[in-house]
């Protein structure tokens, strides 16, 4: 039970979250929160901001407010002079795509311990509309006594899945296949221009699941055969998308929303700068945690420490700004030479999944490339943006498994998909398909390409894996990777480390600028071919990420030298590899 103290310190902490608590446990018209991504923006709508009702018996007129509500009270006087028309905007929001199970577990466990059962767990009859009549009975019997931690949590996380079964006829438009969770129509009352597509938000708002909404929609369906085409300015598809049954897609009337810079539940919710205690304690541990992570990743990468070093840099990379068209700070890594035995890449991905809050595994098999919808496309019939796998939240790790690629022909979709991936990597943007034109949406996605040879996609940095494990023992070694028990506290430390390193600020002093310039000029003097402007670009990114990975917020001489050193190692390895394999470019 929350104490008054909780309320004062963290008044929003006790608000139940749509992400964790199944919809039918939430009271309609109560305050809830929702961690989500703006998947689509619908047209603004006009509604009755203020209206007057007339009591049919007494003829008494009452002025009412229509804000934060979907449905009006009875007996609206349409001819009243006091009616005020107001405008609001609707966003279609989905849970953050690719959010890893550990994030969900941790965030729901911190809530369920705090949530008051009496306010949020009262099963309210009306929400159990006909869509979900079956297979819910077992829940219904004892939710009130289930506020113990373990049992309740399990049920909570399971509940959405059972809820989803009837939804199969309704495409909830999740960017990634196989995603689950509630999607929501968020009504925004002010400042909607400040939100952008693909923003990750935490929305606090009033939940509206009025069965009247579904009834209205149903009524439409039933009578649609009699409807006159002029009335039906919306097609059936559009109708379904824009007013789905409220029991499946609840409405959320936004009171307050904050954009999330990250969705790691282990970090305090306040911005890092405001939380100096946390920041300094993490920073002091940074170097040691880094060493730990390096050992772990070296182990995962078959004993290749250099590759592990680069993997860390990749995992904390982040597009921190854009100079005209050039995104700065991205660090796409191409890990070539991945063994194809014992589904190594899948295992490798599972480990990354344990470390980062959001990730997605895309097997680049021919079939996937030819059939998957990567780029979101506008569907004008249903009037919505049909999502694609590249509609991802910021800082999502996209794992491209090129070892899955076999010989064969890419068809038109395939070529388009590969181009889209190439654009994503080079410019950090995705061109959404609006049929008559394309529209460019900037993104911030960490792309990691695992391949046998050099990848067919561009990358900022390529490193060839040098396994320290013989092919004979590979199988055995691989199976042991996963056995490596990582205590969850240990894992949490690594998770915090990666998220914090990404959020740190960074600067280069004038002195260091000078010394970097000198270095560059010197290197060019010896051999102009040895380093190009592009190489300097990469070195600067490597130096930046290296400093951040050590918890340093400005470039030091040491870090610069170290960056130069590992770059040299990597290049020499590439040279070597070039000699071994003639068809490398």
């Amino acid at each position: 039970m929350p104490s008054t103290h909780d309320w004062i310190n963290n008044p929003l902490g006790v608000v139940p979250s749509l992400n964790d608590v199944p919809l039918h446990y939430l009271k309609p018209n109560s305050l809830v929160k929702f961690r989500c991504l703006i998947q689509d923006m619908f047209d603004p709508e006009f509604y009755m901001g203020v209206y007057e009702t007339v009591d049919p018996s007494t003829k008494a007129k009452v002025l009412r407010c229509g804000k934060y509500k979907d449905v009006t009270e009875c007996g609206v006087d349409f001819n009243s002079r006091n009616t005020v028309t107001a405008e609001r905007q609707t966003f279609y929001c989905v849970p953050i795509p690719g959010e890893n199970p550990w994030v969900k577990d941790i965030s729901s466990s911190c809530h369920s311990s705090r949530v008051v059962p009496s306010t949020s767990y009262v099963p309210s009859r009306q929400k159990r509309s006909y869509e979900e009549d079956d297979d819910m009975d077992d829940m219904d019997t004892h939710p009130t006594e289930q506020h113990g931690n373990g049992d309740c949590k399990r049920l909570e996380t399971e509940a959405p899945s059972s809820q989803m079964t009837p939804a199969s006829h309704l495409d909830l438009n999740f960017p990634l296949p196989g995603e689950k969770g509630p999607s929501c129509l968020v009504k925004v009352y002010e400042d909607w221009d400040s939100f952008k597509l693909n923003d990750t938000l935490e929305v606090y708002g009033i939940l509206s699941v009025s069965p009247a909404l579904s009834a209205l929609a149903d009524e439409k369906d039933a009578s649609s055969s009699l409807l006159d085409p002029a009335e039906c300015m919306e097609t059936a598809e559009e109708q379904r998308v824009h007013s789905p049954p409220a029991s499946l897609v609840p409405r959320l009337h936004m009171l307050y929303a904050k954009t999330l810079p990250h969705n790691n539940p282990l970090l305090p919710s306040a911005p890092l700068e405001d939380n100096s205690a946390f920041l300094s304690s993490t920073l002091s541990e940074m170097a040691s945690v880094r060493a730990e992570l390096l050992t772990y990743l070296t182990h995962v990468l078959l004993g290749d420490a250099l590759a592990a070093e680069y993997l860390i840099l990749h995992l904390i990379s982040n597009v921190y700004t854009r100079r005209d068209v050039l995104p700065l700070g991205k660090f796409t890594l191409n890990l070539s030479g991945c063994p194809t035995v014992a589904s190594y890449t899948e295992r490798f991905y599972q480990i990354i999944q344990q470390l980062v809050p959001c990730s997605y595994y895309l097997g680049m098999s021919l079939q996937n490339m030819n059939q998957m919808r990567l780029v979101p496309k506008k569907d004008y019939v249903a009037n919505r943006l049909v999502s694609g796998a590249l509609q991802l939240a910021r800082n999502t790790s996209l794992f491209l498994d090129e070892t899955q690629l076999e010989q064969g022909q890419l068809d038109t979709t395939g070529v388009r998909n590969v181009t889209a991936l190439g654009n994503l990597i080079s410019w950090q943007k995705v061109d959404y398909d609006f049929n008559y034109h394309q529209m460019e949406f900037p993104c911030n996605i960490n792309v990691l390409i695992a391949s046998e040879g050099r990848s067919l996609l561009p990358s900022d940095c390529q490193i060839h894996l040098q396994p320290q494990v013989g092919p004979a023992t590979m199988e055995e070694y691989l199976s042991s990777i996963h056995m490596h028990p990582q205590a969850s506290s240990q894992l949490n430390k690594l998770r915090i480390y990666l998220s914090v390193a990404r959020l740190l600020d960074y600067s280069i002093s004038d002195e260091m600028t000078k010394s970097v310039e000198d270095d560059f000029v010197d290197m060019r003097k010896d051999d102009p071919q040895s380093i190009s402007a592009e190489d300097l670009h990469r070195m600067l990114v490597v130096a930046r990420l290296l400093s951040l990975s050590l918890g340093q917020t400005s470039l030091s001489r040491d870090s610069w030298l170290r960056a130069k050193h590992i770059e040299a190692l990597r290049r020499s390895r590439m040279e070597q590899h070039k000699c071994v394999n003639g068809n490398e470019p």
Partner: protein, 815 residues
Amino acid sequence: MSSPTSTPGGRKRGRNANPSTRKFICFSVFLPNEVDMSSPLMYGTPSSRVEGTPRSGVRGTPARQRPDLGSVRKAPQVDLQSEPPSADGAVASEPNAGQKLVIWGTDVNVGTCKEKFQRFLQRFIDPTSNEDENAGLDLNEPLYMQKLEEISVVGDPVLNVNCRHIQSFDAELYRQLISYPQEVIPTFDMAVNELFFERFPDSILEYQIQVRPYNALKTRNMRSLNPEDIDQLITISGMVIRTSQLIPEMQEAFFQCQVCAFSTRVEVDRGRIAEPAVCRNCNTTHSLALVHNRSAFSDKQMIKIQESPEDMPAGQTPHTTIVYAHNDLVDKVQPGDRVNITGIYRAVPMRVNPRQSNVKSVYKTHIDAIHFRKTDERRLHGLDEEAEQKLFTEDRVQTLKELAAKPDVYERLSSALAPSIYEHEDIKKGILLQLFGGTRKDFSQTGRGSFRAEVNILLCGDPGTSKSQLLQYVYNLVPRGQYTSGKGSSAVGLTAYVMKDPETRQLVLQTGALVLSDNGICCIDEFDKMSDNTRSVLHEVMEQQTLSIAKAGIICQLNARTAVLAAANPVESQWNPKKTTIENIQLPHTLLSRFDLIFLMLDPQDEAYDRRLAHHLVSLYYQSEEQMEEEFLDMAVLRDYIAYARTYINPRLSEEASQALIEAYVDMRKIGSGRGMVSAYPRQLESLIRLAEAHAKVRFSEKVETIDVEEAKRLHREALKQSATDPRTGFVDISILTTGMSATARKRKEEVAQALKKLIQAKGKTPAMKYQQLLEDLRGQSETAITKELFDEALRALADEDYLTVTGKTVRLLA
């Protein structure tokens, strides 16, 4: 006063398919108890039906209903002095009945309004008009009177009125038109008909003239529509994304008594039909049945409009709006068209469910279209200045002019271009001039067609010299830019292709990148990787600026007035300074000569440059937020600056400038002539003119002056120096670009051929010689190195002279 609703109450429309039954009628009649649904702006009470609209002087020409305005002819007028407004009783509808009368809910007095509009029609003169619609009209005569005359001749009873004209003539009338279009437009109709039939009493029209105002300045952008715009006249621009099928909408219902066959007509009022309960003839109750095929219907179509991509803020999805087109506006637009729509913005509450007491509190909005204007139609067929015209606020124009007045504006703009790319100032200047373009000249009268105004630029150079980045930047900067990669595009992707529309099964011409970038810039990356087939379509585009298509029975010529910005990599992945441009990039010289400027982007490899580059890159990585902000502003200013100059500035050559150009051209030809080479062709002169004009545009100058020519000359020479230098002699030689071979190389070839001929002649009468032997002999004799290629070429030259033939490994003498 009628309510502004125009959506019919759902089930009111009769169905043509099934014969009317009593049951159906019952279902479709007006239920008085039902909650009245009308506009959210409740300024009206249910109107009384006023019969007999003034038709004086109209001589029985039938009035046609205007569903786009709702049922307007019933607007009651209210005497301001009499209180409360008496809606019942026959309100005086004669236009001149009284000055105090205004239409209920508005401040519009019919009489005054009519008079004002008639005065406007009779007197408005716009001598500066350049609208194509007014082509052929005398600009010093009242404009709209001439249009009326046109109507009397052509017989198309539609009068399009530019709202901007009304505004400049009578601001008060304009305000009324914008605020109460539903009332004012019918008044305009009346006025114009009276005027028309007074003037042309004998003309016969199908129905009365309808006034269609357009170009209301109220709103331009869909995003800025808000509740205040409801029921007002607005103009928005957008792109048509979907059109519905034709919807017949009942305007007048025809009822017939089942008992006595007495018939009566009932007009649709706000989407409802009041079914007469009692037959007036035989007094039977509930005996009237609806006869569908004698009822009057009008056409209606639902059109969905989406915001045009240029109007969108970044990171948001485009908004859509529903538009209803009525009568002859139906099927005027197709999906994909860009249109300006003038119409009345409407909001209708969601339908009430009779079984449910509470209502969804959301309105449905749409626009009743009064006027369509396609903005891209003429782009395909001719010039369209107006569609290109961006509206600039006066402040903005002032800022731009201030900027233009600065002496270093050229340098400023070129450095604002792609600041993340280091140096390459001349290239940036070249691209800047490309963005502005030359002046368009039309010589079609004299048979030469129009001259190209666009500047084409080719960038070639080492990989990794940020060519692609430059292209990306330009593509992002210009409103109508296209970006393609030579590797991924086919000829059809660049030009146009024909496909079958899955819905209508019609053949549709889909335009490709070059057509789409008409009036813009087409950026083509990896130009060298393009297949020859694809490249060949560029020949036409880059000089004639058109695209000819003959496909699936569609033969047409599309405009593609696009500037091409291409980037090519050298064949050997690294630029070989010992080879010419042609040899390095292996592009046909016919294509190369169509580029005005060819730049090399090479790594200069010198210390000072390296240092500056390093500094630039490092600062790129830690620049503060404020600096970023500043720069972003620069990009917006740059964009506006270019748009403004492109629209409003059309420089012409001054006398001195022409002289300077002539001199420059003569000089260029002279450079080469000393060595037996030609270093300039008329194409180069044209390039110079274009560049000079573009430079004048940068200065916002209407005149091309000597300084413009100087800069054009300098830039042109700079580009030539880079790309047309003969690696053997070090001289600039334009023939490398025009014939693919430098003059020295050609001379050398001739020399070798002569030497070979002499050698053969010296050998005496040997009819056949060994190839290898001959090569070695020649090598022994010549003091310069003879490559096998050179030898082959010499042999070929001699074979052309019919001196010898080469068969396999033997060389035979002829004759």
